[in-house]
């Protein structure tokens, strides 16, 4: 559905914009974030800011509007913070209000439910959930993903560890279902790239507050014991989506080994330290707008907004059908500070993207590693490739 707007451009320049301008077209995007109550992160530095994800929408909308001013296009974005109880009602409200593009920040199960509610009425872009099942057996025809999948994240780290010849992994996984899914991705990655998981251990989440005053006193005794007597390994790989224990692993392992995965060397879609390929420009633009460093969620929402903006530019004010067709066509590409064009996989709607390997305050490396080739697109060395997909769209 295309919205013709009679109002002036929301983002307006003083000069005339000849060359490309047609009748004004409005693009309306909604971003829905579902905040589930849960325990706090281990570190107060990781506390979620109130505008998590939404701040990326603000920058993405402004970027689209600047281009739109030259194209006779306006962009408006509504952000909605919902709870698990209100998520579906809010989604219905957005659909009834006629939003044709809806970006979601929620877990895999809720993402699938919201996408089903949308049906053919809206294109849904998942900017948070990493579960491979959401791109596989639970995939949806109206669902795209700017968030990288667990398999992409695991493959990105695996390529680097194998490049380092750190082939013997000691895998420690959390006890939550999302941890087990991530651990499964690491098992798959190890097999794919020739690493060996010498042992797996489950770190049970026994509940309780994660932060207590002088909690390190107990941790310092517990973690070495927990990691004791593992077979010889090069690296500890942590699969801790829930954020229960991994941050405590570095420097506390029994053997002096580096930690990677959910702590230590972390595979991530974005880091406020990332400067390559014009990334600094995004960082400064974001920080000026939001007053804080960008997180993965912000970047993934920004990319979702830019997907819409790019399609609006390239289809020159096309309707929703034209927009959708273009986004999934081979002609679509997105520049997102990763040094190469990002495109959608037509088999599961996943945005191909390099993954940053972040070590504290620096980006230590970026995968795919040069040495891992692919017959079609090197980015498809990360994640579930066409022949392996379980998605039937």
């Amino acid at each position: 559905m295309k919205h013709l707007s009679s109002a002036a451009a929301g983002f307006c320049f003083a000069f005339a914009v000849p060359g490309i301008v047609q009748a004004e077209v409005e693009y309306r995007v909604a971003v829905i974030r579902v905040d589930a109550p849960g325990p706090m992160p281990i570190s107060r530095l990781d506390l979620p800011p109130p505008d998590l994800g939404f701040a990326g929408a603000v920058v993405g909308t402004a970027d689209n509007a600047t281009t739109g001013a030259f194209m006779g296009q306006t962009f408006t974005t509504e952000t909605v913070a919902a709870t698990p109880q209100t998520a579906e009602a809010e989604m219905r409200r957005l659909l009834d209000a006629g939003f044709p593009y809806i970006v979601t920040l929620t877990d895999a199960a809720t993402t699938a439910r919201l996408a089903d509610l949308a049906g053919e009425r809206a294109l849904v872009i998942n900017a948070l959930a990493r579960d491979d099942a959401l791109r596989g057996k639970d995939c949806r025809a109206n669902l795209l993903h700017t968030a990288p999948s667990d398999a992409m994240i695991a493959d990105a780290l695996a390529q680097y560890l194998v490049w380092k010849r750190w082939n013997k992994w000691f895998l420690i996984e959390g006890s939550h279902p999302e941890d087990q899914a991530l651990a499964a991705a690491y098992r798959r990655a190890a097999e794919k790239f020739g690493a060996i998981i010498v042992e797996s251990r489950v770190f049970e989440d026994t509940g309780g507050a994660r932060r207590t005053d002088s909690g390190h006193v107990q941790v310092q005794r517990q973690m070495p014991v927990f990691t004791q007597s593992a077979p010889a390994h090069d690296v500890v790989v942590a699969a801790d989506h829930a954020g229960v224990f991994a941050a405590w692993l570095p420097y506390h392992t029994w053997d002096a080994r580096p930690v990677a995965g959910s702590a230590g060397l972390m595979p991530e879609s974005w880091s406020p330290a990332h400067e390559a390929w014009g990334g600094t420009q995004f960082q400064t633009r974001f920080e000026k707008s939001a007053g804080r460093p960008a997180r993965e969620e912000d970047y993934q929402v920004w990319m979702a907004l830019r997907v819409i903006g790019e399609a609006a530019t390239r289809t020159k004010g096309g309707d929703d059908a034209a927009m959708r067709a273009f986004i999934l066509s081979p002609n679509f590409d997105l520049a997102a500070f990763k040094g190469q064009k990002l495109t959608f996989r037509d088999w599961d709607g996943q945005l191909r993207q390099p993954v940053l390997l972040v070590a504290g305050n620096v980006v230590a490396s970026v995968s795919p590693q040069d040495e891992f080739l692919h017959q079609v697109n090197q980015l498809d060395s990360l994640g579930i490739d066409r022949p392996e997909t379980e998605c039937k769209r």
């Binding site: 320049f13 003083a14 000069f15 005339a16 914009v17 000849p18 060359g19 490309i20 970027d63 600047t66 281009t67 030259f70 014009g278 420009q281 400064t284 633009r285 000026k288 830019r306 790019e310 530019t313 390239r314 590409d333 997105l334 520049a335 040094g339 190469q340 064009k341 697109n377 090197q378 980015l379």
Partner: protein, 321 residues
């Protein structure tokens, strides 16, 4: 220290054979390497700048302008003595710029503020700030000086700006992440490289339309590594040279047919290009191998690579006085 440096280079530049000079900005090295164009020896290193990127010279070859991105200004040097002259205001984070063919004013792309800053190089006053698309980068100027072109990397457009009114007169959509804009000497074509899109758009400036898209293909090189950045057109308008970034090659494009005639292997992550004043040589900055390559434009042979500073970014060559 500075006096000593000056004394030393004055002595050097007073040598008998006054050859052309090549100035290379080293983004990481925070310096400009000066080479004797005949011997290709490093004859001086200018220091005292933060993150130098775009570099150009006044038409008479006497002044060197450098975008000192992290200093948020344009630094100016005497090409003969390397003495630093008063800097120009540039707006924040200047990356690339272009001089009006008359030598004044200077048009600067400010990546962070979505503007092009116009600066009078004599009075050092900002004449105008022109709002453009998101992340302005490439800057070109028509041979008659009437139009200035800016490319915006996230908006994916070439903005044609009237150099007298400082207003945008045309916007031309190109492929993803346009990096560089260069007119042919007769003004008939405007070439715009798209780093992520992997193409060079050939624009008819009169109609403000893309009339051709030049694509690149090198056996054994991943298509996503073919990332066009710097462009230079020969004085006779017959050929364009296009730096292909991480493909480590410079494409030679025939501007009659817009066909790629050759791919020349140079250093790693080739970024910007500059001709020697007589057009016999083309110099390339190779950011990841810390060197420049020299291409003999008559034979199309890469003759030599010369180490410069860390992560060379831009290059300009000037005639000896």
């Amino acid at each position: 220290m500075r006096l000593a440096a000056l004394a030393c280079c004055t002595a050097l530049s007073a040598g008998p054979a006054l050859a052309d000079k090549i100035f290379v900005s080293n983004e990481k090295g925070n310096s400009v390497t000066v080479l004797d164009a005949a011997s290709l020896e490093v004859i001086h290193t200018i220091e005292g700048m933060q993150r130098p990127r775009g570099i150009t010279a006044s038409p008479d070859g006497r002044h060197i302008y450098v975008c000192a991105s992290d200093d948020n200004l344009v630094r100016v040097y005497d090409a003969a003595t390397y003495e630093e002259l008063p800097p120009l205001p540039s707006g924040p984070d200047p990356e690339l710029f272009v001089l009006h063919p008359s030598g004044n004013p200077l048009y600067i792309a400010n990546e962070d503020d979505n503007i092009v800053t116009v600066v009078d190089v004599v009075t050092r006053q900002v004449l105008a700030e022109v709002p453009v698309g998101v992340e302005p980068e490439g800057m070109g100027v028509s041979p008659d000086g009437r139009f200035v072109v800016n490319t915006s990397e996230t908006t994916n457009m070439a903005h044609l700006i009237d150099s007298s009114t400082f207003e945008i007169v045309e916007n031309v959509l190109v492929d993803s992440r346009p990096r560089f804009a260069e007119y042919t000497p007769d003004g008939a074509y405007l070439l715009v490289s798209a780093e992520i899109g992997g193409t060079v758009s050939v624009i008819d400036p009169a109609r403000a339309e893309v009339i051709h898209r030049i694509t690149f293909e090198v056996p054994g090189v991943l298509p996503e590594a073919l990332q066009p950045v710097g462009i230079r057109v020969t004085a006779d308008g017959a050929r364009a040279y296009v730096a292909l970034g991480p493909a480590n090659r410079v494409a030679v494009v025939d501007l009659q047919s817009f066909e790629v005639r050759d791919y020349l292997l140079v250093g790693q992550r080739v970024w910007q290009l500059a001709f020697s004043p007589d057009g016999r040589f083309l110099y390339t900055t190779n950011g990841n191998s810390n060197d420049i390559s020299v291409i003999d434009t008559a034979s199309g042979v890469v003759t030599v690579s010369v180490p410069v500073g860390e992560q060379p970014w831009g290059v300009v060559a000037v005639k000896s006085e």
